[in-house]
């Protein structure tokens, strides 16, 4: 096998999820290359070049990649594929790669494989369907496997330095500018990011209002935790969608997950059931969340949360 990893970054640092994707690439075996593209890639290209296990780093720095538009990145990936003939092309299960890699796959006339959680062999992969209610093992018959990797299903590669990858620069053929980046509004927070937080506290419909989430923020600050929410809380307009944990939101696996006022709909469980320790606080003893919780507390959250705040 010869694998290309699409390396995500913010211009300064490699996105930590890419190290999980590297673990998946190592499980496939063979040579591993990484491609880094963006308006500024220098520091990230350098970071990648030192990582043990990468034999090649392909760098494409251009102002054209401002906003990382898939219409402009696809020709670049096609040019890389044309030159190096990879058997596997891997990306994170991120908004960027989920937008980009299927576009690339269609251009290569192959059927992409989304959000894998396991690798059986070079052509056989495991992923979930029906919001995690069934596990599908599939064999791909395509010549090139275009894959996104669920970070929580693969440990992060240690990113050991000492590697000595070849550096190539690549410039993409001109592509028509049919789309343009306007702006980005990232939610600012002093708390850790949901995807990488060791502790996550999530609120559900039982929180009753967006204002009540303040209780969870206070507790989160005490525990160094991130705050998430169930889809029900998002749908009710209590909190923004980027806090959503679940099959249609973020899929996370922290050390400790505290579900507050969350009943535990299947789609929510799909987003958090791989957490190491799960705590559920809900006044309804029949709530399905208790079926996956290590520690269930049947109590009114409005009483329990301030109490925990005091005692932790």
């Amino acid at each position: 096998a010869s694998t290309l990893i699409y390396a995500e970054h913010n211009g300064e640092r490699l996105n930590p999820a890419t190290l999980h994707t590297l673990t998946a690439a190592k499980a496939i075996g063979g040579d591993i290359a990484a491609l880094v593209a963006g308006p500024k890639c220098g520091p990230v290209a350098q970071e990648l070049a030192g990582i043990a296990g990468l034999s090649r780093v392909i760098v494409a720095e251009s102002a054209d990649y401002e906003g990382m538009l898939p219409e402009r990145l696809t020709p670049l990936l096609l040019a890389a594929q044309e030159q190096f003939k990879f058997t596997h092309i891997l990306g994170n299960s991120s908004a960027l790669a989920r937008s980009l890699l299927p576009r690339l796959a269609a251009k290569l006339d192959v059927s992409p494989i989304s959000d894998i959680i396991g690798i059986k062999s070079e052509d056989t992969f495991v992923r979930t369907v029906y919001a995690g209610n069934a596990v599908l093992t599939l064999k791909s018959n395509d010549a090139v496997k275009v894959i996104t990797v669920r970070s929580t299903a693969f440990e992060a590669d240690a990113g050991t330095t000492g590697g000595s990858a070849t550096q190539d620069t690549l410039s993409a053929p001109d592509s028509p500018h049919t789309s343009e980046f306007v702006s980005q509004e990232l939610s600012k927070s002093d708390r850790p990011e949901l995807a990488s937080a060791k502790v996550v506290i999530s609120g559900g419909r039982g929180m009753k209002s967006g204002d009540n989430f303040q209780m969870l923020y206070d507790l989160a600050d005490k525990l160094g935790a991130a705050v998430g929410a169930s889809r029900a809380a998002v749908d009710a307009g209590m909190v923004p969608n980027d806090m959503q944990i679940g099959q249609t939101g973020k899929i996370i696996a922290p050390e400790l997950y505290i579900a507050v006022g969350i009943s535990g709909a299947i789609q929510h469980l799909a987003g958090m059931k791989d957490s190491k320790t799960i705590v559920a606080i809900n006044k309804d003893p029949e709530a399905p969340i208790f079926q996956v919780a290590d520690h269930g507390l049947v109590e009114d959250l409005f009483k329990a949360i301030p109490d925990i705040q005091k005692k932790m």
């Binding site: 059927s111 992409p112 209610n133 093992t137 509004e185």
Partner: protein
């Protein structure tokens, strides 16, 4: 503007999935089906664009076995103008993948000379999240995925997208492909008079071969299995016990 909206018939989101004894799929017989919820959002947004006089015609397409016509009728009752059913056999429907569906949608988009293809961001059965991106690639059109707001700006569309950690605004030329995310809108319910009216709306029937699309499977299903069950722990009596358990674990 002419819009092509895709809608997939899927097992209803409220149904508990059961894996088939042969472990090659899930039980679909006698199970309630409905329109993929993300596709409903796409249909709703298309109808709103028509109500704002931005869109002239909404063509609703579904690719699947005979029952997919019910899904098309639902979309027509929500405000679609006419339907196209691209029929495959029940066996073909099982192995139909986004790569096939996107090829069919791309051909339909060309045939119907649409300015916009509007799809849901993912189907809640296979959870692939691929069809819109691939349709855009095949047409060489720009794409705006995971849309939470769509507005016309001169001859372009300005789309707010849901991305990791926040929102992003992009502008795309037309023709283009948009995929709908959760917060774009809240789909309406079809009223009884509109359901009756929808029955009289035109529905074309085609086969993938009529559009020159080969639906040979690209993957082989090795197995479909139940997920591992997580063992439930125990309930704690009160906050004190919970706090001491968490402290024991080092939190």
């Amino acid at each position: 503007m002419r819009i092509l909206v895709g809608c997939k018939r899927v097992i209803d989101y409220a149904v508990k999935i059961r894996v088939r004894p042969d472990k090659k799929g899930v039980v679909t017989e006698g199970v309630k089906h409905s329109m993929n919820p993300f596709d409903e959002i796409a249909v709703e947004e298309a109808v709103r664009l028509k109500e704002k006089k931005i869109a002239k015609e909404i063509i609703v397409a579904s690719i699947g076995a005979a029952q997919s016509q019910e899904t098309i009728r639902t979309a027509l009752a929500m405000g679609g103008d006419r339907g196209v059913h691209v029929e495959v056999s029940a066996a073909e429907a099982e192995t139909l993948q986004p790569i096939h569906v996107s090829k069919i949608l791309a051909e339909l988009a060309k045939k119907e000379k649409v300015d916009l293809v509007f799809l849901g961001k993912q189907a809640i059965d296979d959870d692939s999240n691929q069809t819109a991106q691939m349709t855009a690639a095949l047409l060489d059109w720009p794409q705006a995925m995971f849309a939470s707001k769509v507005e016309q700006k001169d001859d372009k569309l300005e789309v707010v997208r849901e991305i990791d950690g926040g929102l992003e605004t992009i502008r795309v030329n037309m023709p283009c492909v948009i995929s709908a995310d959760l917060r774009l809108n809240e789909p309406r319910y079809a009223t009884l008079p509109n359901i009756m009216k929808a029955k009289k709306k035109k529905m074309d029937k085609l086969k993938p071969s009529d559009l020159g699309v080969d639906v040979t499977p690209r993957i082989e299903v090795i197995s479909v299995e139940d997920p591992p069950v997580r063992e439930a722990g125990a309930t704690v009596a009160d906050v004190d016990e919970l706090v001491s358990k968490l402290k024991e674990k080092g939190f």
